[in-house]
């Protein structure tokens, strides 16, 4: 996507808000959750993924990015000791999403394998208040003339306008909670840049929310009484992007009216550098092996997004 998040915003009729929403920030600031206890475990998880997991001295990104993600999710899952309702979550990998919508006479669709989805039995309550939703009516979507909003999108002949959440009816964990994107290609050019990663996260979060909305409320375009909230986290093993998306309306043909909302917290480093081999200058070890510049706030946000909706 050339224009990144701006283009994704236009395509999904969304208003951007910087920073995480107050409900998530409330979980982070709440001292009752005691998020500081996990700092040691997170440091161990980072060291495990970046330093200790393979026999080679420095594991490659294809290896350490999924391992880091699995370790962080393992730590988050262990919180179900304190909050039993967290057991009502299920991860699913390799699932396919399909969502179609029209945007000013352009038919758009989101299809295919996207990332790892965490489903939950209970939906996340709406994050923005009614006033904020009504205030988006006044917001004007950014256009970037002369670039067309559909630049870099693949043109495909569609024979069936599909809307499919990826799961059959009757699935108990029917509400998409969080989408995880791992940019784990070894070569830098195969990975998405942070701006493009955020755009991808927005598009797929929107696709999941739209598919769910069409299942719940039918195919007619309308303003939703109960907005649907889908979160997403994207990482390349070091940098984290957090996003909370709220679908307020499925009426996407015109550019006026109520818009959807997205809160973005971008480029959060979990650690500055992982020294796999000690740096030696003139036969003296200047930098021993280890993780440098660890920032616990990033994991607190990760955990807060995980706990959002049940706490």
């Amino acid at each position: 996507m050339l224009e990144g998040v701006r283009q994704a915003q236009w395509l999904t009729k969304t208003k951007l808000v910087e920073g995480l929403p107050p409900s998530v920030l409330g979980i982070i600031d709440n001292p009752a959750h005691r998020l500081e206890e996990h700092e040691e475990r997170v440091k161990q998880a980072v060291s495990h993924a970046r330093l200790w997991d393979t026999r080679e001295p420095a594991p490659r990104r294809e290896h350490y990015c999924p391992v880091l993600f699995e370790d962080l999710i393992h730590i988050c899952r262990l919180m179900s000791m304190k909050y039993p309702s967290l057991t009502k979550r299920m991860l699913s990998r390799n699932y396919k999403i399909a969502a179609t919508w029209e945007r000013e006479s352009i038919l758009l669709q989101v299809r295919g394998l996207n990332g790892i989805l965490m489903n939950s039995m209970a939906p996340i309550p709406p994050v923005a208040s009614k006033e904020e939703i009504l205030a988006t009516e006044a917001h004007v979507l950014e256009t970037f003339y002369p670039i067309s909003p559909t630049i870099d999108l693949q043109e495909v002949n569609v024979y069936k306008e599909l809307n499919n959440t990826g799961f059959r009816d009757g699935y108990p964990y029917s509400h998409p909670h969080t989408l995880f994107f791992l940019e784990s290609a070894n070569v830098r050019t195969n990975r998405f840049r942070p701006e493009q990663l955020r755009a991808k996260m927005l598009m797929f979060a929107f696709g999941n929310a739209l598919a769910k909305a069409k299942v719940l409320y039918g195919n007619d375009p309308k303003v939703l009484e109960q907005p649907i909230v889908v979160q997403s986290v994207g990482t390349d093993g070091q940098l984290f992007q957090f996003m909370v998306f709220q679908l307020n309306t499925t009426d996407l043909v015109s550019s006026d009216g109520i818009k959807n909302l997205v809160w973005v917290d971008s480029d959060q480093n979990l650690y500055e550098k992982a020294q796999c081999v000690p740096e030696v200058k003139k036969r003296v070890v200047t930098k021993p092996t280890g993780i440098y510049g660890f920032q616990p706030d990033t994991f607190k946000k990760f955990l807060a997004l995980y706990l959002h909706g049940t706490v």
Binding site: R41, Q44, A45, S47, H48, L51, W52, D53, T54, R55, P66, V67, E70, D71, I73, H74, R77, L78, S80, M81, L86, T87, M90, L91, S92, R93, N94, Y95, K96, N164, G166, F167, R168, G170, Y171, P172, Y173
Partner: protein
């Protein structure tokens, strides 16, 4: 050539070092001559013994575990590669003889040991109390009964919840999620693999309240476990070393599907010197199994490096590949080999894992373990589950060390039992609670003091 007896020859001829010598030389004052020992470089048995001694001293004196492992696997020679998941007939007997393991059918009685420890603990607390009471005997059994009842009551409350978790995981992977058709000969990656990941991760999360060891554990997906050892002797058949007597070298390179590593060791099941059966003796060469030789790096690895604090193993989960499915073995008229596949996998993988854990603590074949290393494994093909528990009592399997070593490693194992009968129309038919409870008991295993 990196030989085990490779020594650097000392330079003692230079004149101008003689001034430094009186301060450096550690010779005792009563002997004017250096000690008379066998040569280090001659082609003689005494020289070979001396080189071997020197190698053993080098490994004993290694400053760190990484250095010890590096020296242990320094010399590369052709070795038999042992595959835990193998189609070889009666492979479990062969693997038991390679690893000096006794197989005991059924799982070790854990409740008996827990009940035996409970009165001991209460007696200790009663004695350590303010005053020894003559009536201490009467309250102790009552306390143990109450403790056992409380411990027994708490897990049994939410069997339904655990069953719901397991059924949900199974249904999601096999019914609710839209998936493509399984790739040819890779149906294990399609449903049983994701189901196992889902099941273990959600069970571990829900049980971590009862088992603080799980709360500090580390879950690995598709880790690598390696171990290299010597066992027995053979004569080199061909090549420039023909005719020499060499130890038989083995290497296991295993890839369990899931692994839980913990920072504290699991308690021993039986004492270190127990003898629960016989180790099979096989007179044939290992290549008759069939087992093939290759020469590459001698690896010892538990799944993460020595610096990781979670250096002990808890449970491994193995997925039987498509090639060794039950239906294939039945079609080839090998029904009795179905259980052999599970047993061989359990024995070989657990031996490699426990032995590598012992090496990470500094033990090796010349420095035998002083405490038993216990780990568990679950081998499954998605529907049938077999449970194994392994206790490593000895690492001394080389020709010299095995002679006076009465210890044997012990492996307890069950037969494979189905977790469910069939999944149809969004419900699981014939769910077997016992298998699930056994899995839960495995996950709840922890040291006594936790």
């Amino acid at each position: 050539m990196a030989a085990p007896g490779g020594r650097r020859l000392l330079w003692t001829g230079r004149r101008w070092l003689s001034q430094a010598e009186p301060a450096v030389s550690p010779q005792p004052p009563d002997s004017f001559y250096p000690p008379i020992v066998a040569s280090a470089t001659a082609k003689s048995k005494a020289a070979k013994r001396r080189r071997l001694e020197h190698f053993k001293q080098r490994v004993h004196a290694a400053p760190s575990i990484e250095e010890k492992l590096r020296l242990y696997g320094l010399l590369q020679r052709p070795k038999y590669v042992v595959y835990p998941q193998t189609f070889a007939l009666n492979a479990d007997r062969w693997y038991r003889s390679f690893t000096k393991t006794v197989f005991v059918p059924g799982l070790p009685p854990r409740t008996a040991s827990a009940a035996a420890k409970a009165p001991a603990a209460t007696e200790v607390t009663a004695e350590a109390g303010t005053a020894p009471q003559p009536g201490a005997e009467a309250p102790a059994p009552a306390r143990t009964a109450a403790a056992a009842a409380a411990a027994g009551a708490a897990p049994y409350l939410d069997v339904r919840e655990l069953r719901a978790l397991a059924c949900d995981a199974l249904l999601q992977e096999s019914f609710y999620q839209h998936k493509r058709r399984p790739v040819l000969y890779r149906s294990q990656e399609h449903t049983p693999g994701p189901f196992l990941t889902q099941l273990v991760s959600s069970l571990a999360a829900s049980l971590c309240g009862r088992n603080p060891l799980l709360a500090a554990s580390s879950l690995d997906l598709k880790p690598e476990v390696n171990y290299y050892w010597h066992h027995g002797e053979e004569v080199v058949v061909h090549g420039h070393r023909k005719g020499r007597v060499d130890p038989v070298r083995f290497q296991i390179d295993d890839n369990p599907y899931l692994q839980i590593r913990v920072p504290k060791q699991l308690p021993e099941v039986v004492p270190l010197e127990s003898d629960l059966g016989d180790v099979p003796v096989i007179d044939h060469k290992p290549s008759k199994l069939p087992l093939f030789k290759r020469q590459y790096e001698n690896k010892v690895f538990i799944g993460s490096k020595v610096a990781d604090p979670c250096c002990y193993g808890h449970t491994q989960f193995h997925l039987i590949p498509d090639k060794l499915k039950r239906e294939r073995l039945v079609k080839a008229n090998l029904e009795d080999q179905i259980e052999v596949v599970y047993r061989a996998n359990g024995i070989a993988s657990l031996f490699a894992w426990t032995a590598a854990q012992a090496m990470y603590q500094g033990f090796w074949s010349e420095a035998d373990v002083t405490r038993p290393f216990v780990s568990q494994a679950v081998v499954t093909d998605g529907k049938y589950f077999a449970f194994f528990c392994y206790q490593l009592n000895t690492l001394a399997l080389t020709v010299e060390t095995i002679q006076n070593n009465p210890r044997k490693n012990i492996c307890w194992g069950t037969e494979s039992k189905p977790l469910y009968d069939v999944v149809e129309d969004g419900s699981v038919k014939g769910f077997n609670d016992e298998v699930l409870l056994q899995l839960v008991r495995f996950l709840l295993n922890r040291p006594k003091d936790l």
